[in-house]
Symmetry: D2
């Protein structure tokens, strides 16, 4: 990840398989990394929201990150999330990530205590300075309850604080404004922030984001079907719109697996995480579909729902 | 608007020019309709949010709607908003719209009183039945504070209650799921809802929405630059992505006019509406840039900001 | 309502009984007014949220308001809500209320279009000036989606724009700050806003609000048990805390009727309005428990739930 | 804290004084504990939101908690917050608290990942079982973005999972329903949850909460004026309403210190925390008014604002 070469392509946020005791299943995690690299992905995002990082103790975070870095063995860059409530706590995670050999850090705005844009800007500057690794901002209002403004990201991109943005805000209009302000789809690489990497977390509209000028995608669903996202990315790069849209539509249908639990009877997180993990189990990649902490586990009907979506997308042999 | 032919293309939500007394300036409104039709638009949405419908009395609504319908003289279809708090009040507006000769109705979910999805579904069914015109659902959570679910819109599309959707929710992922569930970009016209028209209100990502399979766009900014949106629409239809993206990027820059007031010193609505109306004044289309009700008016600096954006987009001669 | 005498006491927001055709049942409404006045209330709030004003057409609003004013025949003052989206539309309602003989107007901030505090302040000033009646601000963020600040209400109280506040924000801390800033519980009547009337809409904590220095209460539940709220008010005035708290606790239990529908299967509004109206029917005050518009109606089980709460509170003979 | 004796009275959430290097200033913290105990408080809440716990590393948390427990030396019980994103992470903090000698744990619902009521219930049960200390639920939607329902708290109170509730939700109506459901103000001690302690975090309406039947208060402002809150509590216990309301009104005015920064130029948290800490510095209790992490510090004008409020409340000699 040289600083003049922005990260591009498919960068899945790696799930964390758990064993029966709720500990990180390192053998399964190693197999998952192989599954992703074999799918052709261009990088990995460890300890992102899809890793259930919020549910992992610091010790478990270390095990997960080290397992991913060891398994990937330098084949693609590894970004490490430092998710926590505030700057001082994120700096502790940053130090652990640096020691483990991560290539870059990914940080949200502070959360829990109500904050202010000036404090968020300062937060990223401190993380960049003391974290001592390239820094990606992670815009995720659904978890963090504040939105990074176009003006803030632009300022932090232009002064070199940020190396990139992972945009999971769902605000595609704002993302478009950012891209245009940074020079537009074609001009951006020649613009004031030549190495700024814009990755969308909106896994259902990747074709649209790439059309607009995003550099890549961080798809939670990419754990299940990395090759599908890679095909979508390649089709867009080659200008083959028809193939890209077809691939995206197949992935949209596959994504329906996240509505696994009976409506209103599961949390959005436990339903989606459970679906991804059980899909990986059904595909033979991981040993168990267990989710972390106090989350509701998928029941038989929900697992059947996941299986139907895998078959529908051609990922399991149709019986 | 035959029922087997869905509405496609650019359908601007027509602004309502006001005179010094705060009444509808019908001469300016007539000129605005000409400006739009001359720009090549495929339909008009009268009494939408951009008309400041929420600020117009029933008498003023009638004047505005009748002026638009008379000016357009059947050249393109006219959709009429029936924005109000609940079904019974919307039915009063529906009757007025029908008498005025509107081609279709556009209705949000009920608002003010907290509601329930079952009540929203029933609301649309009653409007369709008693409103006696084709009905578009208007998904606008920023004003209405509830979101129409994919499942609800699909059900109401498939049973014929709804003729179309104007999606201003900003939830592009949800919109994509709807399109896929209705048959996908290519299959949709052959699917169970052949005449269902999906129009996006996300004016900054129109190329992306059309790529995904939307039928058209309802752009507030289309008041100012209807021809630009028509060029964008045509470029996408012709598969000329490069031209489409360039046009979209120009429109994104033009849209920057809505940040007209000093940050924090204007409302989002007064700033955007004031920008559109002053832009129309600067373009010679309407007489005054006044916004309705108790809204803050643009000051000199804000008007200069609007003018800069018009010049930047090539809509005013560069001085 | 002389201007030097603030409104004090219990001022129920009058429900609107409907007949089978969904029209205002004026005979039932007249009986409801008698029920309230006989209960000892100190004023009536017509066309408030509990009247389902959002669901009534302008014609129905006129019928409801005129019926209330005629039935009350000057025995207590009648405040009239002018609920609508913006200033110009509220002015139309204000004129109707003035002609009907209302004693004061009650207005929320503008809603639907996003607004700004300066625009809200201006809104109330215009309503006061052109509405030509004493004006109460109605703070109801759950419907209006903005909160009136302490500073704004204080400014509008001190300059005479507002005659009073109906606070249904649930922000008891903010209300306390307002009371203290206006001179404190005891000093307020001698302070800069001698005639400013603070009415809480928080019907479950009336004893607490009166302790803090509020002047009265606008309880939706007061439709069902006006005499209970009057006893509570009198007990607090007489300093009989024990009796006040007991009465409040009985009313809290009675209020449980609003959880009438199966959880998640009714809207909060249809459940509460249905409960109040069916309670009035069971008490013999009104003919039907029907709610307006597309709202879900109470089923048998929900009505039984209401009846149990009436019996529990001693309002129906225990069988 | 025997299990048959609920915690009652004033239980301030202890601030964390910091030195110039941003580390816990243990000498100042020891003086703060003395200030609070000397003020007559009935317990201390260590590592609550007012401790800036979200900004402290695990090492700093340990220092702060151990310092408080050592300084208090058993004179009053010490509750320890275990604030973190999820159950597994809170269990790590719980173990640290138990080893440090805390008397009880205080836990919010999980946050960051979207959750579900069933998961929240399970979360508290796991914390109670494995945390091995009495457990208080901390209802703080402004930070946690979910609200504990009356039904959930009641269930967890009745089955012994929870020993108490710290309610900072601002939902006084909901709190009243809980009190009534648990037996009412007078009956509660004889009811099904005899030892359940209800503490309000609404520091501006303590008289009202005690009137309603709350057991005590956890006031952030109690760091600055513990004796004032103790007088308020004692006045309510003695039934001296007049004195209680006067004390509460004085404290409401004192609380005005939290609006320290220029409006819009500080976060709500940095403004309030900075005000409390600078007030403690001006009172000679702590050495510096510094707040943690990337928060904005009070400037001269803001400190003068704090000082004025201290003088106004009679806490500093009037110059």
């Amino acid at each position: 990840m040289s600083s003049s070469q922005p990260l591009r392509g498919v960068v899945p946020p790696v799930c964390t398989p758990l064993d029966a005791a709720g500990e990180v299943d390192t053998a399964s995690l190693t197999r998952l990394v192989e599954h992703l690299v074999a799918g052709g992905v261009h990088g990995l995002f460890a300890l992102g929201s899809s890793s259930e990082v919020a549910f992992l103790t610091d010790r478990q975070r270390a095990v997960a990150l080290e397992t991913v870095i060891e398994a990937v063995a330098g084949r693609v860059p590894v970004l490490a999330g430092v998710i926590d409530m505030t700057t001082p706590r994120m700096l502790v995670h940053a130090e652990a990530a640096r020691k483990a050999g991560a290539d870059a850090l990914v940080a949200t705005a502070p959360f829990y205590a109500r904050t202010h844009p000036v404090e968020i800007t300062r937060h990223f500057r401190i993380l960049r300075e003391r974290g001592d690794l390239p820094l990606y901002a992670y815009d995720l209002p659904v978890c963090v309850h504040s939105k990074l403004s176009v003006a803030m990201v632009r300022e932090l991109a232009e002064d070199g604080t940020l190396t990139g943005l992972k945009d999971s805000s769902g605000d595609e209009g704002g993302l478009r404004r950012l891209i245009v302000e940074l020079g537009g789809r074609d001009g951006r690489t020649a613009g004031p922030a030549p190495s700024f990497s814009i990755l969308t977390g909106s896994e259902l509209t990747v074709d649209a984001a790439l059309l607009a000028g995003a550099d890549g995608v961080v798809p939670g669903l990419g754990n299940v079907d990395p090759a599908g996202y890679v095909r979508l990315y390649e089709a867009m790069r080659e200008g083959d719109l028809k193939r890209a849209v077809e691939e995206q539509e197949r992935l949209v249908q596959l994504f329906g697996m996240v509505d696994a639990g009976p409506e209103g009877e599961m949390g959005r997180n436990s339903s989606a995480m459970g679906a991804f993990k059980h899909a990986l189990r059904l595909l033979g990649v991981v040993t168990a579909g267990t989710t972390a902490g106090s989350q509701i586990q998928l029941d038989e009907a929900a697992i059947a729902h996941v299986e139907r979506h895998l078959r529908g997308a051609g990922l399991l042999p149709v019986r």
